[in-house]
Symmetry: C2
Subunit: 330 residues, 2 copies
Amino acid sequence: MKSNPNIVTIGGGTGTFVVLSGLKNYPVKLSAIVSMMDSGGSTGRLKDQLGVLPPGDLRQALVALSESDEIWRKLFTYRFESGDLKGHNFGNIFLSALEKITGSTQEAVEYATRVLQTRGDVIPVTLDNSSLCAVYEDGTSFDQESQIDEYFGKSKISKMFLKPNALINLDAKHAIERADYIIFGPGDLYTSLLPNLLVQGMPEILANLNTKKIFISNLMTRAGQTDDYKVSDFVNKIEEYMMGETLDYILVNNEPFDKEIVKTYKEVDNAVPVVDDIEGDFYHEAKVIRTNLLSNTVFKPSKSDTLKRSLLRHDSEKLAETLFKILSFK
Amino acid sequence: MKSNPNIVTIGGGTGTFVVLSGLKNYPVKLSAIVSMMDSGGSTGRLKDQLGVLPPGDLRQALVALSESDEIWRKLFTYRFESGDLKGHNFGNIFLSALEKITGSTQEAVEYATRVLQTRGDVIPVTLDNSSLCAVYEDGTSFDQESQIDEYFGKSKISKMFLKPNALINLDAKHAIERADYIIFGPGDLYTSLLPNLLVQGMPEILANLNTKKIFISNLMTRAGQTDDYKVSDFVNKIEEYMMGETLDYILVNNEPFDKEIVKTYKEVDNAVPVVDDIEGDFYHEAKVIRTNLLSNTVFKPSKSDTLKRSLLRHDSEKLAETLFKILSFK
């Protein structure tokens, strides 16, 4: 039998967390490449105030892969609720202190990897300090990820770029070159997924590989980013940012949502379910796999959380099971 | 040969740090009982803002006893220099997060003990939330340790008490009952050492033991606390707060100080060297041991440090060597 397949996830945030949490229980070798352009919340403040690279997406991937004592996972997800530390996440503080002491994001992550006993590697997509910029159809432009995150439903993004240019981290490059499968998403298309593809060197590397590429479609649209986006729109955008390189698998949840939750999303976030507009089982070069990927748990935002969190999420176990089937029966 | 002697240090702050750092390299069993009344700096803010017990003295003892990777000792002594976290020590933040998660100071310390691989136990003198209060000869009174710390040279302390009453931690009681030697100081008499003796149950336990008690005399006076105090004054106060119980050994440095540093102390802190006023080799029941205990390093306060630190310190190696001689030839 062939040795365990190399799986690389590309993304950031809660979506990547869910994928990694599930896959770590399967016989695969995992590398998580995460976006380094987050500029909101605790992460953004630490970045601005301490001059460290944004720790938030790294931290989520580290916790997802952790197999250490439960207390470490609790620490890394703990958010202070009052005083000077209010809103700051302990994991972010830990990574920031390590980066200040070692002078290196890479070393900080490696050390956290040992402490958290992660089953797999966590790799910053770039080690350059760069901001995510967006230009909208209404002419508005932003040069901070957090501004993009907050420009709800006002206009559509027409162009994304990084300022200054960021170069792909060599460790990320090597992980992709060794990969048997690359998993994109789920996650915010413009602020978690595509920023990885904007890094210099990334599209070229992806274009020159035979590696199978899997996209896990989002459950809900995001106002101001992916309004009215259907599954095909997500796929089109990803393939566009991969310079025309195509996906091999598209995973789509086909379990209906609770109507009350959908109503809340519409009212609070002006977000709607992502419609599966693909006819048949193929789109471009990709096979479409439709199955129940929905978590039965409804997630509530935590009290001191300054960022919006999804109420509806993919189920990590269902996702991992479906992904592992793809890996086993290629 | 008898098994390794049980040594208990009672104190807090830098003095205890120096004693523990040296003794951990000797064949002794160490328990550090530390004061829990600190209310200044990072520690005081975390205490007030998060409702945790003050982590600072615990943290210093933990680092002193740590035998883990150097990175952990660096983390635990790292102080953030800017932003929301400015002035906060990472070790304090770590202990505070652990206490918030576990709901227990004791559990937080035990977990930190494992992470830092300490050679010995660190024990809060009390688990009660209590403030150190002082009444001065000029009629002034304070109910916060930090206020006492800051009332430089204005008047002398006439009375100390805790509000509300704090009960001795059972682990501290048991450690003292097992002790072959108890080491007091060096350290600020009124804010690091005596607060331990104000805890309900402590004087009674000390009075009922045959354990040898060693006092390491301070190098310098402290304005507003121990102005003009000579060695005998320190000893008298400690014996008074032990309800008349006497010391067995008094360690006094006899190495002269650099004149420039003494001048700086006088000018900046209104502090002077503690004069050895004891004639002969005994004072009350105690044998006086005079030797070179002085560190050759001059310590400078760190940039972001909001607390005053000693320029002159005991040398941990010289102290440990002298202490170990006492343990070996009793």
